[in-house]
């Protein structure tokens, strides 16, 4: 469970996130939507304890991100474009390293790695240095790392960016499975078809402020547009002119 309550964060004079509140419950996939620079990444980073909010409270599984950052991280699977792999380690070594940092018992950790290597189809390149892997392969390793410690909460920042259709579909299925097993999933994306496919609810932000929230249908109704893409543009105040 993620609880974001009245969170504000500025960089100097620029307000990146302004009084933002939302909740992600167990078993639910919530999409964080917004144009570039809307404050999505800042929000996700605050949830992941990498940034501190100036005001407001964020709790992950009841743990405050400012006061109990380590407990938050233990409960969180976090992935962004900035979470790279160690080039000189193999995927297996990489997973083992993070398992140790999560203090997973040795036998359990090895079992878990074997399972993930199988589930994410990593076996073929599990013992090759990460530096030589393709984008799709790297993304699968990253995702395996994200769920390695079986976190109840997942935060994913554009998990399908740069992937081909097959890899993206695999990632989306995986996300669905995570939510089905009772995890709370928050993910950001630009791709409207993913939102329609996956999200139970959507939080739409622009310039740090929440412009709309609810199911995909709610958004369509609020904007009076037939398509999610058009609804998105209308809700962020830049409606598509009629051709």
């Amino acid at each position: 469970m993620i609880e974001v309550e009245g969170v504000t964060r500025s960089y100097g004079d620029t307000v990146a996130v302004d009084d933002l509140s939302f909740v992600v419950r167990p078993g639910e996939v919530v999409g964080l939507l917004g144009p570039n620079g809307a404050g999505k990444t800042t929000t996700l980073r605050m949830i992941a304890t990498l940034l501190k909010p100036d005001r407001g409270v964020i709790r992950v599984q009841g743990h405050d991100v400012v006061h109990e950052p380590l407990a938050v991280r233990a409960a969180l699977g976090y992935q962004t474009g900035d979470t790279g792999l160690y080039g000189r380690l193999t995927p297996r070594e990489f997973l083992r390293y993070f398992g140790r940092l999560h203090r997973m018992p040795k036998a359990e950790l090895e079992d878990r790695i074997d399972t993930l290597v199988h589930d994410f189809d990593i076996g073929e390149f599990a013992d090759r240095p990460c530096s030589g892997l393709s984008t799709g392969q790297k993304q699968r390793v990253t995702l395996a790392r994200t769920v390695l410690h079986d976190p109840p909460v997942l935060v994913l920042d554009e998990p399908t960016s740069g992937l081909d259709l097959v890899s993206a579909a695999f990632i989306l299925q995986t996300i669905r499975r995570f939510a089905a097993s009772g995890r709370a999933v928050l993910f950001s994306t630009h791709i409207m078809s993913e939102v329609e496919l996956l999200c139970d609810r959507v939080v739409l932000i622009d310039r740090g402020v929440a412009r709309a929230r609810g199911t995909v249908d709610d958004l369509l109704r609020q904007s009076g547009e037939p398509q999610l893409s058009r609804a998105f543009l209308a809700l962020v105040g830049r409606p598509l002119e009629a051709a």
Binding site: L50, K52, R73, L76, G77, T83, Y86, R100
Partner: protein, 674 residues
């Protein structure tokens, strides 16, 4: 601080580093092979060059109106190729035709008894010319000596007329000392350079490199604190720096041990083989250098956004470390108490001292203490920097963020890192400020040290860090049993610890008796014997009560609170006790104060209250003062007295320990297990 996590991080970083051929090359191949090989090559090429030069005769030209027979005779030698020119065709020494040109235009027959002026022209920048002028000068001096003797004889005088004194210089330094002097002039700088080079690459790779490859956010998804990450990475850097330093030492030992570098006639004069104790001492110095340099380099590299920037940032650091070390390397600089505190310079001087005089435990402890304090200070800065948002998110970090109070979240107790930092700063304050003022004004100096440098800053730091005072300083009501235990231990501890201290010091340390006497004298200088009741009260307030309150606030308050429940109680007690022992700045008192520190830590951990420790501390110090001034006895007599009291004291001591550690009856609040 969780050691298993730190170990995991260190292991992974070492694994990655060892897979990188560049690192391996820089840290092992280069030092073990290249430096000795380079040295060898340079000396041997120089030697061959020298031999070649010496095999050639020097070309000497004499310019004169008529051939000066006496001069030609004087310079007739197998190493000299002599030619005489008339002034009209006089050669120039700079033409390369001749190595030396002697202008003898003013030549007169020396038999006349005068002083004959001749110009000997040479080029100091030309090796052949320098060698030639040496040869010419030697021959001329020989001839001149002979002429002097001849003239003296002609005047009916002996040679002693102009030589009233016939000094002969005899070098009585041992061959090993001469060898050590030679090594001392070159080995330390090699060590510092190799340790530096070993630490340089990984300290950048593990910090700025991690940001450049955008793995730092991955790392920060794990439930590990910045301090733990820095500690793990630091140990890896230290490990690589050590490997580099040891590899270099090994190379050097092999080269010098085999006497490969030096000509046999030099080896007769000096012994450059390193005795095992010095090799161990040098290894310890390498450890110190690795600890310090790794910390400094890593901290600077953390501030850099990329690998390239980091390389730019560390260059001045490199110079700042190398240049003073090179200066320290010069003759005339020896380790004294001030230089022993200057980072890096002190280790260079310590190595020099070891090579010359063998290992001196006192100097070693001083330099090691100073270096450890400096390294941990730098490391705490690194820990705080590394956790900054700006560092993690990929912009660059700044030192200004260290001061940002918004980054400080109120919490019950200080963290281990903060405690280490404050201890290190306190240590430096004590050393630089406290010791200095106490030199000028013993009593006010001591008051200032205890209250102004220990107590007040500790309380202020606790405030700044927004910690809970009750939790941090253990301000709870003591249990009756803890107070009883403290009393028993306080009364008996002074005897037991003193005897133990005497035994241990005698076993391990040289001159412990001399030290004891010196300490007593120091005490008398600081505190003249009390003459009336008021004197006694003042003395006890100064020596017993003040330290009990001020030092307990720091050691059994701030420091113990930071480690309590985060490590096992035994480790918490041991760590704070050793910190307490070291704080007394004397290796001779280390054992006694550490034991005392252990007891006091146990009291606080068992009772949850600081007061039993304060009481024990005050009792112990008070009784020491009473023993010093109240009992008028010769040292031998005093020792006998101690032995006589020992059985009784032991009994009380054991009773105190039993009272302290006896398990609590069920139903009462269980204090932490020892």
């Amino acid at each position: 601080m969780r050691p298993d996590l730190i170990a995991s991080i260190t292991r992974k970083e070492l694994l990655e580093a060892l897979r990188d051929r560049r690192t391996l090359f820089m840290m092992v191949v280069l030092p073990i092979l290249l430096y000795p090989a380079l040295l060898l090559l340079v000396t041997q090429v120089a030697m061959v060059q020298q031999q070649k030069l010496e095999a050639e005769p020097s070309r000497v030209a004499i310019v004169a109106e008529a051939p000066p027979e006496a001069l030609i005779e004087a310079l007739t030698d197998e190493n000299i190729e002599l030619s005489v020119y008339a002034p009209s065709i006089a050669p120039d020494v700079r033409d390369d035709e001749h190595d030396v040109v002697i202008d003898a235009l003013a030549w007169e027959d020396p038999d006349a008894g005068g002083s004959v002026p001749i110009d000997v022209q040479f080029e100091s920048v030309d090796d052949a010319s320098r060698l030639a002028v040496d040869r010419v000068e030697a021959l001329l001096m020989d001839w001149s000596d002979a002429e002097v003797t001849r003239r003296l004889e002609a005047a009916g005088l002996g040679a002693e007329t102009i030589e009233p004194l016939a000094p002969e210089l005899v070098d009585r330094s041992a061959r090993t000392e001469r060898g050590g002097y030679l090594l001392g002039a070159m080995l330390p700088i090699f060590m510092i350079i190799t340790v530096m080079l070993g630490a340089l690459y990984p300290s950048i790779d593990l910090t700025a490199g991690e940001r450049e490859r955008s793995t730092i956010q991955t790392l920060f998804t794990a439930p590990v604190s910045p301090v733990e990450i820095v500690a793990g990475k630091y140990l890896a850097v230290v490990g690589i720096a050590l490997l580099s330093g040891f590899a270099n030492l090994l190379g050097m030992v092999l080269v010098f041990g085999q006497g490969l570098l030096l000509a046999p006639e030099i080896l007769d004069q000096l012994d450059v083989s390193l005795p095992p104790s010095v090799i161990v001492g040098m290894m310890a110095c390498i450890v110190l250098l690795a600890l310090l340099l790794s910390a400094v380099l890593m901290t600077v590299a953390i501030l850099a956004p990329s690998f390239k920037d980091a390389q730019t940032y560390v260059t001045p650091v490199y110079l700042v470390c190398i240049v003073p070390a090179m200066i320290a390397q010069m003759p005339g600089f020896v380790l004294d108490e001030t230089l022993a505190l200057v980072p890096a310079v002190n280790v260079v001087l310590l190595m020099k001292q070891m090579l010359l005089e063998g290992v001196q435990p006192d100097s070693f402890v001083l330099v090691a203490g100073a270096t450890l304090v400096q390294a941990s200070l730098v490391l705490v800065v690194a820990g705080r920097l590394f956790g900054q948002e700006a560092v993690v998110i990929g912009d660059r970090g700044t030192f200004r963020l260290l001061m940002a109070p918004s980054e400080i979240v109120p919490r019950p107790r200080p963290s281990i890192g903060e405690a280490v930092a404050w201890y290190a700063i306190g240590f430096l304050l004590l050393y630089y400020v406290g010791a200095t003022v106490q030199q000028f004004a013993p009593r006010p100096g001591l008051i200032l040290t205890l209250w102004g440098l220990v107590f007040a800053p500790t309380v202020l730091v606790a405030r700044y860090l927004k910690v809970d005072f009750v939790e941090t300083f253990h301000l709870r009501r003591p249990t009756v049993r803890a107070m009883v235990a403290a009393t028993l231990l306080g009364v008996s501890g002074i005897v037991v610890v003193n005897v133990l201290n005497g035994v241990v010091s005698d076993l391990v340390l040289p001159q412990s008796d001399a030290f004891a006497e010196q300490f007593a004298q120091e005490m008398e200088r600081f505190f003249p014997p009390p003459e009336n009741a008021f004197d006694w009260i003042a003395l006890l307030a100064l020596v017993a009560v003040s330290p009990a309150i001020c030092e307990e606030a720091l050691f059994r308050g701030f420091l113990l609170a930071s480690v309590r429940d985060r490590v096992s109680p035994a480790v918490a007690a041991a760590v704070t006790a050793i910190a307490f022992g070291l704080f007394h700045l004397s290796i001779y008192r280390l054992f006694g104060t550490t034991v005392l520190g252990l007891l006091m830590a146990a009291l606080v951990l068992r009772s949850g209250s600081i007061w039993p420790a304060v009481w024990l501390h005050a009792l112990n110090n008070g009784l020491a003062v009473v023993a010093q001034y109240g009992i008028d006895a010769e040292p031998a007599e005093a020792e006998a007295m101690l032995i006589r009291w020992l059985p009784g004291a032991c009994l009380l001591f054991v009773a105190g320990l039993v009272a302290l550690f006896w398990p609590d009856t069920p139903g009462r609040t269980p204090p932490p297990e020892p």
